[in-house]
Every structure is written in structure tokens, then in C-alpha cells.
Subunit: 474 residues, 2 copies
Amino acid sequence: MWGIVLHRNSEVGLARQIFLSLKDRILSGQIPQGEALPSTREMAVGLAVSRNTVNDAYAMLWSEGFTVNRRGAPTRVAAGVQLQPVKQSESPREREKKQSPILWDFRTGQPDLSLFPWQTWNEMLRGAAASLTAQQYAYSGPKGYEPLCAEIAHWLLRSRSMAIDPSDIFITSGATQAFRLLTDILPQDNRAFALENPSHPGIYNMVTDRGISLLWLPVDEQGADVAALHGQSVAAVYVTPSHQFPLGGILPASRRAALIRLAQDNDFYILEDDYDSEFRYGGAPISPLYAMDSAHVVYVGTFSKTLFPALRLGFAVVPRALQAQWKHCRNYMDVQNPVLEQAALTAFLKTRKMDRHIQRMRRAYGEKRAVLLGTLSEAFGDSVRPWGDDSGLHIALQFSSLRFTERFTQACQAKGIQIATLAEYCHTPNEHQDILLIGYGHLSAGQIRQGILALKRVIFCMESELLYLQQETK
Amino acid sequence: MWGIVLHRNSEVGLARQIFLSLKDRILSGQIPQGEALPSTREMAVGLAVSRNTVNDAYAMLWSEGFTVNRRGAPTRVAAGVQLQPVKQSESPREREKKQSPILWDFRTGQPDLSLFPWQTWNEMLRGAAASLTAQQYAYSGPKGYEPLCAEIAHWLLRSRSMAIDPSDIFITSGATQAFRLLTDILPQDNRAFALENPSHPGIYNMVTDRGISLLWLPVDEQGADVAALHGQSVAAVYVTPSHQFPLGGILPASRRAALIRLAQDNDFYILEDDYDSEFRYGGAPISPLYAMDSAHVVYVGTFSKTLFPALRLGFAVVPRALQAQWKHCRNYMDVQNPVLEQAALTAFLKTRKMDRHIQRMRRAYGEKRAVLLGTLSEAFGDSVRPWGDDSGLHIALQFSSLRFTERFTQACQAKGIQIATLAEYCHTPNEHQDILLIGYGHLSAGQIRQGILALKRVIFCMESELLYLQQETK
């Protein structure tokens, strides 16, 4: 306890040894000012000495002014007795101060956490904590909390027309873990993974970290061009068919059918990332690829956008042929998710709080999107064109005759604008340099307006540098 | 919503289309008996039709007896209208019934969850939920909740004399994830990982899944024999120096010093798994290997045994040289832990509830251990010898002149006894066949006594089959 080592045969008495050890640690700052010492009973048990011995040691500390006692409160280390303060690591807050402050943060994929029904969620957590038995806090294996799998199946049916057997649903720590597991599980035999270009850097890093080779699928306004797969031998194809990330297209039926046929003929898996199809503001609901062939598609969903990222809950609908390997790999990755959040989410789904929350957020995000599009039109007129469908928490915005460089994003940062160019998501050089990505889900209408106007000022000041089509065609 | 697809140009009216879709799903059992339908408002919004249309559809369902209405309650699916019940996956409870019931479960590594202060923990959770801001539920990165890292540093100092900078502490989803990350991070260049033999199957599976070659360190009563490392080129050495799993030895100072020197000379990392050193019933506290060289040792701790497994919280003290890679790999494995449990554990440590809980459990486990040792002595007299130190939640029990076979564990199972032989943890054949592993942490004194007496009966009945030394020396 407290790093005190007692020498029973020493000439120095036990009480004095305790006193000296504690004094050293107080002087060095290892036990900081204001820290409570253990009760004499605890300390006596911890060191296997009598309580009187500890009482004597504490009395010595007190009499030399190292501690303060207050009636009914634990003995605490006195102020100002420390000689060499322990090196404190820089706090995150201090680190933040050094960077220039972000006034308008247009990062993609950030839900509006201020609109989440925290009180309701906390009630779900309390209910879950009250109903779980002690035994349910033991290891329960890599599949996930079964009542949650059943509720997700119901929810997929009522929200996406998917009829899924709960035994095929595996809970994960977010979609990230599902894709990470798939890079371990899928048979490779030196076959490549095909990814969309542009795509999220997460999947790119996972695949290349494993040493798996890559095949790029070009992306146009309708999503991935699956024709690029012809004649190629791949182990898996990662796609975002409901809302291409980041360009926003919806994969049309013809490409869907072609992709499924290719998977069947050439025996590869399609990894379907459905990261935000809940937030669609018009048009018919989009049916997942999974519905076309449940043996060749792994469907991955997440609650990071609909609830909140630090929940760390997602799921995968896993083809039977992969389930044994999935369990093995999850078991030796981190075993399982914590049970409490799973039980709370079960109740959130069962009581339809989820459905109501999504409906409410769809309305809120739709309003923000309208503000964004209105402000963009006001600021840039016809010189900009938003890509993709009326959906999600971000847009890809194409500027006619501008080219966004690294110097541009730095200039934005200096003005407090955090924004990404599409080029940062492209894996071949000099592509789509005229497109910016604007995440707006987490911003207020006022922030969106002011941020776009600030963006306009940066573009206006740099325009001669950013213009390129004219120069090149001269 | 509910998988209903409406055809606006159809001759069939919208209300009738809704009615037919719902009827189909009710008949097929996809919407089960008792399930609530969405409110007419929700359904109207979800399908983009007027509320009157939904009212009409619901009225048709009700008039044909598919639903029941009760004042003030949602419309629910009536009983007995289902034609083909959806295939329900077998519930875990049903699967359990088919196996013979386990009366005495001597599995290792199971804490006694009935003694955990659930009420206090739930208060910590409530406090954490009340104090976390919405922004803290966004992504916060792979390092972990900083206040928790700071509290773990304090706790390591007062419980293990370790002076650690919180910036070197990384939160993980249990110890499993820490080791899984290390198998990804550590430089290999075709160099082997050295593991103890016997050891936990978890680390063995992680290493072999990555295709990393193995070097076995023999284990005796003092833990791993590190002399086996001489002349070998390894990337990492996994050890349990405070309490060898499963044989129970404590690595002596001479072997510790030799191991550290080898790591320094040959530039490999030591992975120190400190999985249960909190539960030590006598003798001086054991100083971790980490204290001898913080640049070559990764120290891994877990709260699965001290709190509960489904918490999924552990940590690693990571040498500076590995921290950037650690962050990268965690970021693309599952990003981070949920924040709520981290905040609750911070309070549990800060208020010293942790210290008191461990003290209480040490006493409780010590009493169970005394019952176990007493019953063993009563049942088997001098013919058995417990290995290892007075510590942990299990013992390794050596029987003179018996050899435990697979038929033995099957015979135990038939009598309701779940028990492991040491041979199951050995990675070379015909070793330590005379040792059983007995986990007792989660059992009551009565269960321990009855279980050991039941074990005695199985051994007594099979003795002629198990005896081997006599036969072989004849």
C-alpha cells in the first residue's frame, strides 16, 4: 500500500518506517497536496501491522506538519510541503489552447449531440442497471447481448424492410470494429480488397495495415463504378451503396445487380457500409444490397451517428459461412462489448424512442441542410454545385474553375474554419481538386451561415491563387 | 417504415396498400403477436401520407381482427393471427438445458460478482451520466478518458509502488485488447514471440492467428525459466511474473534481472500481464517488472477480476517508443472505449471505493481459499500438493501418481463438475498430466466443499484407470 515496504528486522521501528516512507512520497509530490491518506484501519490491514503502529506514524506526520486533520474527515496531505513537483503531463485543454481556435468546424460525420434525449437515455441506463443480474456482468461471449440482437432485427424490418434472423446479427464496438474484424477474417490468398476512390481513410488504413493489396473503384455521381471489377480477382469489395462516402451518390439498381452477380460468379464478399441512411430527406427509402444476396453481403450498421459516437455500438449481419471465424477473431480481439449500454439500447429500441429520435433528427438535419444550401446559393450563386443525394450529414460541393490546395485549408484554419478538401479522401493524385466537403449535422443554423460567409471571404481573398481552369486553357 | 413500399400510381388506394402490407407481415409472423404498431402520426410521417390514410388502414386491420385497440394504449397485433411462425433462433437458455447441468464450476478467472457493491457502482454511473457533457459523448480518441488515466496512476502508486506518468497510460477494452494490439504493433521481422508453457490460450491464439512464430519458455514452481531465451532472437516475451498463469509461481529477483538484461541487450519487449496480483493473501507485495525498465516493459492491467468482466476496462502502460503506433492501431481497431464506464471507474478510484472493495474481496477470497485447502487436505490428505503462491482466484493441484485424461474430465462433466486439467494449457504433449486447475473465486464455501467431495468420488471410482506411476514402474 502506497508503495511502503516494511523491514521487520530493521532497527528502525515499524511506525517510523511508515512515517519515513510517507514523508518521502509527500516531499517528492508523489502523494500530492490535499490527497487523503487511507484510514488507519485500512493502512493497518494493508501493511499487516497493528492499528496503533499506524496511529503513531500518522501522529509523526501530523506533528511535523506534513498532514492536516479535521474532525470526521480523513487525514490529508498539507499544502506547500512538496519539494519537487512530479512532472505533470500536459492536459488536453492546454494542448488545445496552443492551436488556433476552431470557430466553424465543418468536419464530416459529427451528429448533433445537443439534440440527443439525454434524460431519456439516462433513464434507459438506470432501468438496464436495475434489471441486469450480477451473472450478466460476467463474460458472455463475442456474439453480443441477445435481446439487443432481437430488437435490432425488429428495427431493421420496420425501418429498412430487412427481414433478418437475430442469430445472424453480431454486436460490435462501432462499424470500425466490424470492418477491422473483416480484414482479419476474409480469405485473401493474395487477392485484393476493392475500395471506392474517394473513400473514408479508416477502411484504407485497415486494409493497408494488414498488407492487403488494393483495387480502386472510380466513383461518379451514382456511386462506385463496379465495371472496374471485371476480370479482377478480389477477396472483398467495400461499398457505401445507400450514400457514397464522401460524394453522396446512390448506387443504381443496374450497378447493384451487376455487383451481386460478380460476387456470386467470382466468390467474393461485398462489405456494405450503411453509415447514415437513416437521414434521408426525400425520395423512396433505399433497400440495402444485403436484401439481394445474404450469403455474399456483410451488412454493417452503426449507432454512432443516430445515437452518439462514445456509445461504441454497431452491428454486422454476418453470412453463416463467416460466423465461426467472426466469433474466434472477436474473442481474441476484445471478447465483447460492455453489457450495460447494450441493455439500455435494447430498451431504447423496444420502446420506439429510437424511431422517434431519428424522426426528430431527420427533421432537424433537413432544416440545417436547407439553411446550408440557401446560404451557399446566396454566397456563391451558380458557381457551386452540391453533389449527390438529398441525404446524410454532409455535402460535397463542387466549385467551377477553382482548385483547392493545401495552402487553402491552412488559410481556412488561420481564420478558424476547419474544412476538408475532397482531394484528402482521394487515393490518386490531382483528382476532384475542385470539391470541398462540408459537414453540417453538428452545427447550428447560425454557425452554418456565419461559417459559409467566412469561407466565402477566404475564397474571395485567395481567388487569383485558386483559379486554374482559365489559366490552363489560356 | 415496417418495410412498406407504396405505389403512388397503383389502382389500389394507399390506405389499402398499407393495410395489405401490414396484414402480410402479421400473417407471416414478422410483426409478432402483441407488438405495438407505430402511432398513426409516426406512420403517416414515415410513409409520407396523410394521417387519415393511416387511420383508414388501421381501421381495416382492426375490423378484420388483426389488431386490438385499448383506450390510451397503442394498437397491438392480436393473438393467434399468425400463419407461419418465423423460425426463432434457439435461446441460450434452451441450449443450456441440453447440456448436462453444471453443479460445481471450477473454471479459473471468475470473480465473485455477488459480492460486488452494485449499488455503489450504479451511483457512480448515475454521477458520471449527470456530469458528462454532450460533447464528451463525441469521439475522443484512442488514448482513453484522461481523468481515468490520472486516477489509475494514483492507484498504481498506492497499491503497487509504481510511479507512472498518466500520459503513458492507455485505456483498453480489457487486457485482451492490449495484447491483441501488441501483436499488431511490435516489430517482428520474422522474430518469434516467447510465451510461457503452460499459459493462457488467449495469448497463444492471438500470436498464432497473426502467423507469428513461437518460442516456449518452460515453467517451474518459480515461474518462467528465462534461461531458455539465451541465444534466441525474439520480438517479445510474454510473462505473468506476479503470479504465473496457471501454475502460480512468482518470478524470483534473479530471473527478473536476467530477463531485463536480455531485453536490453537484444532489444525486445517484455509484455507483463498483471492479471490478479491484487489478491495476494500473505507475504510482501510484489513489485512489477515494469519498475525495473520502463522502456522495455509493457505493463498490462485489467479491471475484469477486481470489478467485473463485462465492464471491458483494462489499461496498458506503454513505452514512449510504441505510443504513436498504439494510437494508430487502436484508432483503426475500434477507436476508443465507451466513455460512461470510464467516468464511473474514475469516481470509483477517486473515492477509494476501489481500495475498500479489493480489501474486502481479498478477505473473502482468502476465506474461500482456506475452505478449499482444508477440504482438499481432508479429502486427499498428503497425496495432493497445491503449487505456487498464496495468491489469486485459483490453485494448481498436483496429485501424486495419478494421470488425468480426457475421459476423466468427461466423467467429471457427467457428474456436473466443470474442471480443467493442466494438460489443456500445455503446448507440448504429455506434460504435467498429474495437475488439475481449480478456480474457486466465484464459488461459495458450501459449493467448494461439496464440489471437492464430488471430485473425490469421481477420482475414487476411476482410480485404477488414473493410476500410472505404479503401472509404468512395474
